[in-house]
């Protein structure tokens, strides 16, 4: 009924707008206790002793456990194995639930105290005395690899978890760069960020002795994966004895993908004390213990011939993994990063070399975009810098180097130098649309007028591609993933023709309850209100891999389509019987099965009822109308886009003001444009945050010195403008909805566009690589260090 492609208002909104959202910390179980974790104030220190005596006799205390009490318990595992260049497996030191020997970052857990109330747990925690021998720390991922650097794990030489290389023959790349007409070189960091989901992480462990069963409530993006890791790798509990529920989740942006120590701790403690145990992070704990993002130091060289054609790209990156390997930590600076360095361009030679090191900092893992923003930043900063150096318009330089259009059907997918095969794309079209939409010629004229009157105005570009719809299991398995990355969907048609959909994808703001219902209602020709989407509970949803990597629609939506098709196929048999016609003569459309060429038909509700009241029914056909499907994608999906940022800079203060921001994205077919636009807005804001405002800053001793909302400058409403958005549509050729995913495009595209705009605005002072975040102070110094104003 035309629901696909329509900006249907969200069905989940009413509960959130009336204060009825239910997040993990809102759950109060009978007999619930409260846990508080005692965390290291040092980045690197030996634990000499832990004295819990005073705390044990404090009011309300039920139990205290230290690292020694958990000596026989496994730590949390890593879900992705990357091998050294020489074939050795990566270094994979244990990540204990509580540490007993030495702490490896500020915030590392040392003990847990469980009490009747939050205040009692907090008071008792202050009575626990930990004696530390403080050691030197290393923070910088490049210095960590130096001989003699303090070791995070004593058995990991040079703190190097692995080194890794991908792409063209290194010798050929070296030669192409040596003999190039022009080489643009940049050396910069892609700074560490803190995801900052507004809902702090929370977990409740509930052991029920009578049934010997466990329930874990956790603010997670993928409850089934947590159950798998918790049961099979950490606690050795049979999976059928564990139910994991992720109720409403208040944002994740990657940080709630991972299996955290606290999830296993509350389950383990609940069994020990035989009562439910709840832990909820305080904001400062979130800053210290949610996995961080980015944190690369790179040198990148891009070679051109005399015609402005790119001939080779060489990249060396040091990636900071933090104190331990987080669940997908090793995948981010490798297979989610190096594989994207082809960008939208025909560069014939690309080589990337990565050294990934441990440091005395919070573990680093996927944060919105995960590797792809780092790759895009590097490539797109090189492009605008090269354009300035070569005196070519940055749009023109891109047109010279774009991969020609291909639809993945008539024309084959595009094989890159860095392992991926792009599905479909038309990159010329999208940049042209962006130029038209922003009024590029007019904008350059305005810029010239501004400059003539002494003002600083800049225009920055970013044309990006990303790999999402994660992921074909066999491909990622060959690359080191220790899990399949399919998705699961059950479509249960109830006897009355109402439909329940159980999806392994998990919404933490993306609006699955609406988008998935649109798909089902559209295909069945029924009302949106007749579809209910269920997610986030391992007991009701058979299995699932969760939501990250812009996969929910491309993978989870495709699984729903498979189940829908099975329903329609079985319904056709039932309808043929009812209509006394051959199956081949039956067609399904607009909510009814009809005999082709006649006015004989039977409705969706009739067939549903017949399936459950099978009195007059096809012989040999099972009753019921309820199908489950696993969908494993054939390839990644490859959204792409062209973003343009316009900034003005105040010479007196160095303040960068965003004047316009245009995002033209191609995410394939769109189910709900309103929701897709919302995803783009949020992503763009986060990317602008990285460009201009945000950074996690550690001092040399390993203290996070801006771990509060007062100090970590997340974008506020008055830091941003209203965004302009548009789309082109290049359907994905390999999934049934033709969709590519929209969750990360904004974050990937926006950061380089904004920094490029700053560089462009300041080009009168020479070509400058603005270090992120590009604060007023840095800009002011740049302006004034040249003796000009």
């Amino acid at each position: 009924m035309g629901l696909i492609g329509s900006s249907v208002k969200r069905v989940e909104d009413k509960r959130f707008l009336t204060g009825k959202g239910k997040y993990t910390d809102d759950i109060v179980l009978p007999g619930q206790t409260i846990a508080r974790i005692i965390r290291s104030p040092h980045a690197h220190a030996k634990i000499i002793s832990v004295d819990t005596a005073a705390a044990e006799s404090a009011d309300g205390v039920i139990a205290i456990f230290t690292g020694k009490d958990l000596a026989g318990v496994n730590g949390v595992p890593c879900g992705w194995q990357v091998n050294f260049k020489n074939g050795d497996t990566m270094k994979e030191p244990a990540h204990p639930l509580l540490v007993a020997d030495k702490v490896r970052h500020v915030g590392d857990g040392v003990a847990i105290v469980i009490a009747e109330s939050y205040a009692q747990a907090k008071d008792a925690a202050e009575k626990i005395k930990v004696d530390y021998e403080v050691l030197d720390a290393v923070i910088d991922p490049r210095k960590a690899a130096d001989d003699g650097a303090p070791l995070v794990h004593d058995d990991v030489p040079n703190n190097t978890a692995f080194d890794w290389q991908l792409g063209s023959d290194a010798g050929e790349v070296d030669e192409a760069i040596r003999s190039a007409h022009h080489v643009t070189t940049l050396e910069f960091s892609n700074q560490r960020l803190i995801p900052n989901a507004i809902e702090p992480r929370s977990a409740i462990g509930h052991y029920e002795e009578a049934s010997d069963k466990f329930t874990l409530y956790t603010s997670s993006q993928n409850p089934h994966l947590i159950r798998l890791l918790l049961c099979a790798f950490v606690l050795g509990i049979p999976e059928h004895k564990v139910r994991v529920i992720s109720p409403d989740v208040g944002g994740g942006f990657g940080s709630k993908i991972f299996h955290y120590t606290e999830e296993a701790l509350v389950i383990w403690c609940s069994r020990e004390i035989n009562r439910p145990v709840k832990w909820t992070a305080e904001r400062s704990e979130s800053f210290l213990t949610d996995a961080h993002g980015r944190d690369h130091i790179s040198k990148a060289e891009l070679a051109f011939d005399a015609d402005g054609k790119m001939t080779a790209l060489r990249v060396k990156t040091y990636a900071n993994l933090g104190g331990y390997l987080s669940t997908f930590g090793p995948a981010v600076p490798t297979y989610l990063y190096g594989t994207l360095l082809q960008g939208l361009y025909t560069t014939p030679l690309v080589n990337v070399d990565v050294t990934a090191t441990f440091t005395h900092t919070t573990p680093v893992d996927a944060y919105r975009g995960a590797g792809r923003p780092e790759a895009t930043y590097l490539l797109e900063r090189l492009m605008d810098t090269a354009a300035l150096e070569l005196g070519i318009d940055p749009a023109e330089l891109r047109f010279k180097n774009f991969i020609p259009a291909f639809d993945g059907v008539e024309q084959a997918g595009y094989q890159t130098q860095v392992a991926l095969q792009y599905d479909s794309g038309d990159y010329q079209r999208i940049l042209k649309k962006a130029l038209d939409k922003i009024g590029y010629d007019q904008l350059r004229a305005e810029q010239k007028a501004a400059r003539d009157s002494g003002k600083l105005m800049g225009i920055g570009f970013s044309t990006y591609i990303e790999a999402c719809g994660i992921a074909p299991s066999a491909v990622v398995g060959a690359l080191g993933a220790r899990a399949g990355l399919f998705e699961v969907a059950q479509v249960r048609v109830q006897p009355t023709g109402k439909v329940s959909v159980y999806t392994g994808a998990h919404s933490h703001g993306q609006g699955h309850e609406t988008t998935f219902a649109q798909i089902v209602a559209d295909r069945f020709g029924i009302a949106l209100e007749d579809v209910e989407v269920v997610h986030g509970d391992s007991e009701s949803v058979a299995f699932g891999m969760g939501t990250y990597g812009s996969r929910s629609l491309a993978v989870g939506g495709s699984a729903i389509i498979k189940s829908i098709e099975k329903v329609i196929e079985k319904g056709t048999k039932i309808a043929a019987h009812k209509l006394e016609a051959a199956e081949a003569d039956i067609e399904f459309a607009d909510g009814k099965w009809s005999v082709k060429g006649t006015d004989k038909s039977v409705g969706f509700g009739d067939v549903s009822l017949t399936a459950y009241v099978p009195h007059d029914y096809p012989e040999g056909l099972e009753p019921g109308l309820d199908f489950s499907s696993f969908y494993d994608p054939a390839n990644f999906t490859y959204p792409f886009g062209a973003h343009i940022a316009v900034v003005e800079i105040d010479k007196e203060t160095g303040k960068v003001t965003l004047k316009r921001y245009l995002a033209v994205d191609d995410v394939g077919n769109v189910i709900n444009p309103m929701i897709v636009d919302g995803q783009v807005h949020g992503g763009v804001a986060q990317g602008i945050g990285q460009a201009l405002l945000e950074a996690a800053i550690y001092d040399e001793s390993g203290q996070l010195i801006n771990g509060t909302y007062m100090d970590y400058t997340m974008p506020r409403a008055d830091d941003l403008v209203s965004f302009e958005t548009d789309r082109t549509t290049t359907p994905c050729p390999h999934n049934p909805l033709g969709v590519k995913g929209a969750g990360e495009t904004g974050t990937i595209g926006s950061t380089p566009a904004v920094v490029n705009a700053v560089m462009d605005a300041l080009s009168a002072y020479g070509i400058w690589d603005p270090p992120m975040p590009v604060t007023s102070e840095k800009v002011w110094e740049r302006i004034h260090s040249n003796g000009q104003s």
Binding site: L17, N196, G250, G682, Q686, L720
Partner: protein, 95 residues
């Protein structure tokens, strides 16, 4: 604000905004303009908007953005929150 500072004051929370099952125009604005995603910051945003519109019934975009500077949202980039409040302001003025 400390609880004692609210002594004698009328306190309205998100739970008190909808009347007899029909959403307040601000709540309606957030739904119509997709001003929320994960929903966690939403009660704060709606109540801040109520306070803003109580003192300025027809705020400009800049005034709305300034009025929201005490609230964080990590999902929406604020774009549609601004639109939601504009929607509510229009609706409240015309009613």
């Amino acid at each position: 604000m400390l609880a004692a500072q609210a002594d004698g004051a009328e306190i309205i929370t998100i739970e008190g905004m909808a009347q007899k099952g029909s959403l307040h125009p601000i709540q309606e604005g957030f739904r119509e303009m997709h001003g929320l995603q994960c929903g966690f910051c939403t009660p704060g945003m709606v109540m801040t908007a109520a306070d803003l519109l109580a003192t300025n019934s027809s705020p400009s975009e800049a005034e709305i953005r300034h009025g929201l500077e005490g609230n964080f949202c990590r999902c929406t980039g604020y774009h549609n929150i601004v639109k939601s409040i504009q929607y509510a302001a229009d609706k409240m003025q015309s009613s």
